[in-house]
Amino acid sequence: MNRISEQFEQALLSVDKKTAAQLLKDASASFTQMQLIDEIVTAALTNIGKKWEKGDASLAQVYMSGRICEELVDGLLPQGGPQLRSQPVIAIAVLDDYHTLGKRIVSSVLHAKGFNILDYGRVTVNEVLWKVQADNVELLLLSVLMLNSALHVRDVVAGIRAAGLNTKVVVGGAPFLFDRQLWQEVEADAMGSSAAEIPAIIQSLTGEAS
């Protein structure tokens, strides 16, 4: 399995969708869907995320890997079938601006892992509070690019608390990478350094399968 995962990772880094698809197809004769997703797809995406953090992979490779995996996993899962795994209600949004790349990468990684998530797109503080309440969101993933947007996360957290909700807030994006204390300062529950970390964070915050 490790060898297949390494080959799959190499195909993703080369943006070689055809080889990645063939590797999964070949492996599907010997492994279950969950094994394919967890031990090949997720393992490869996690490694690529770690490489990006260390400067050994590029953002383009991270993004394209997520897109390819999302598409391949769609092919593995039954169309409109039952949810792959038990999960909390999860929503994702970009706070305040049009920089949606981070949200797109996280969505791809979670989708490739079989999670269903609500995508709120670009929102203001008031908009996201309204949506979280309406959908009983248990875990809110917020992506930001600008420092002022990152500081506005504190208003989201305060609004959630004022409404008496138990929604956990996970943040990600450049300001949190450049200031490793910022997520605590804005009172988020966790910070993801890369999209690949998010499944494990979901598990640690909710106890659900990752």
């Binding site: 953002l59 383009a60 394209m64 305040d96 049009y98 600008m146 420092l147 002022n148 450049f178 200031d179």
Partner: protein
């Protein structure tokens, strides 16, 4: 952006007139002792020139709105704006002329362009641009050629207005965003062609992105200065650049908001120790603009630390030539 505070204006009002920005830069120079004036308005200025939207906020830099290239197939129909007939660009040129009339040749004025290889992030959205790079190199090449001509015209207009040098923001060329091999096939050639047509020196800036794996190529592209990231070891970067290109950086502007004056002095002292020996080093933040939330006391501490620790010969700097 901090010029707006000095001028007592909102960020939106500040950038609405050339006079405001020129005055803001002069006030900043008087207050903090800046060694240059910076004709940077906001990142999406060029997108505004192409007809895109700029979104203002009260506590941060103006941002690009929704991308305007929604269908990549229409790239070949794109027509670049005329620099001298586009109000937002003319406003910047006026600001440069006003600054020049105030300082003449006593202080450098830095003009700004977005690289033809990086501006598509705002023109079409980051994800769509990355997919274009990987899947439609033919259309990417067309877009880059259109952008190159515009970038050269825009840079040279700023130099003609009085700018001393041009800061060429090119974060997409950083290994943080694309791998080196891809950069060598794309952003490197764009930079070489574009910088060769500038009628003045250029500083290539990666807006916090890494640069060390491509530093030799950045030098070959014709840049005189390179803006580097706090994600990399400044001493290693300076060692690779010594005598070949000036290094600019690499204070962490995001963390800077929390620095005490003592911490600010220590951070500045350390950057000078790492990169100041032998000259060829400019102390600055690592992104290209210090965030709105960084307090005045911290800016004063950074500025006075540069005066204290940055006078040659340097005390205790790394390297033989201090």
């Amino acid at each position: 952006m901090h010029g707006a505070k000095e001028a007592g204006l909102s960020i939106k009002d500040y950038f609405s007139k050339a006079e405001n920005v020129a005055e803001g830069q002069m006030l900043m120079r008087d207050k903090y002792g800046n060694d240059c004036l910076y004709a940077f308005f906001y990142a999406p200025l060029e997108v505004e020139a192409w007809g895109g939207e700029v979104i203002y906020s009260s506590d941060g830099p103006p941002n690009a709105g929704a991308p305007f290239i929604l269908d990549p197939e229409k790239i070949s129909q794109l027509k670049a704006p005329s620099v001298k007939e586009t109000p937002c660009l003319v406003k910047v040129l006026q600001a440069i002329k006003l600054m020049k009339s105030r300082v003449e040749d006593t202080c450098p004025i830095i003009g700004v362009v977005m690289s033809p290889f990086s501006v598509p992030v705002m023109q079409m959205g980051f994800g769509r641009y990355l997919e274009l790079m990987m899947q439609r190199p033919d259309l990417m090449d067309k877009l880059l050629r259109i952008n190159e001509d515009f970038c050269v015209e825009w840079a040279n207009a700023q130099l003609e207005a009085g700018a001393t040098a041009i800061c060429y923001f090119d974060p997409v060329s950083s290994p943080t965003v694309v791998d080196r091999e891809f950069y060598l096939r794309t952003g490197f050639g764009v930079a070489k062609r574009t910088l060769a047509r500038f009628k003045g020196p250029a500083a290539t800036h990666f807006s916090s992105g890494r640069v060390l794996p491509i530093i030799d190529n950045v030098i070959q592209s014709g840049a005189s200065v390179v803006g580097v990231s706090c994600l990399e070891n400044l001493y290693e970067i300076k060692s690779a650049c010594r005598g070949r290109i000036t290094v600019m950086g690499n204070l962490n502007g995001i963390e800077m908001r929390r620095w005490s004056p003592v911490e600010a002095e220590e951070k500045v002292r350390q950057t000078i120790l790492d990169a100041g020996a032998g000259g060829g080093f400019i102390v600055s933040d690592n992104h290209g603009e210090i965030p709105w939330h960084v307090p005045e006391d911290t800016l004063f501490a950074v500025s006075s630390a540069v005066r204290k620790w940055g006078m040659y010969p340097l005390a205790g700097a790394a390297g033989n030539d201090r």
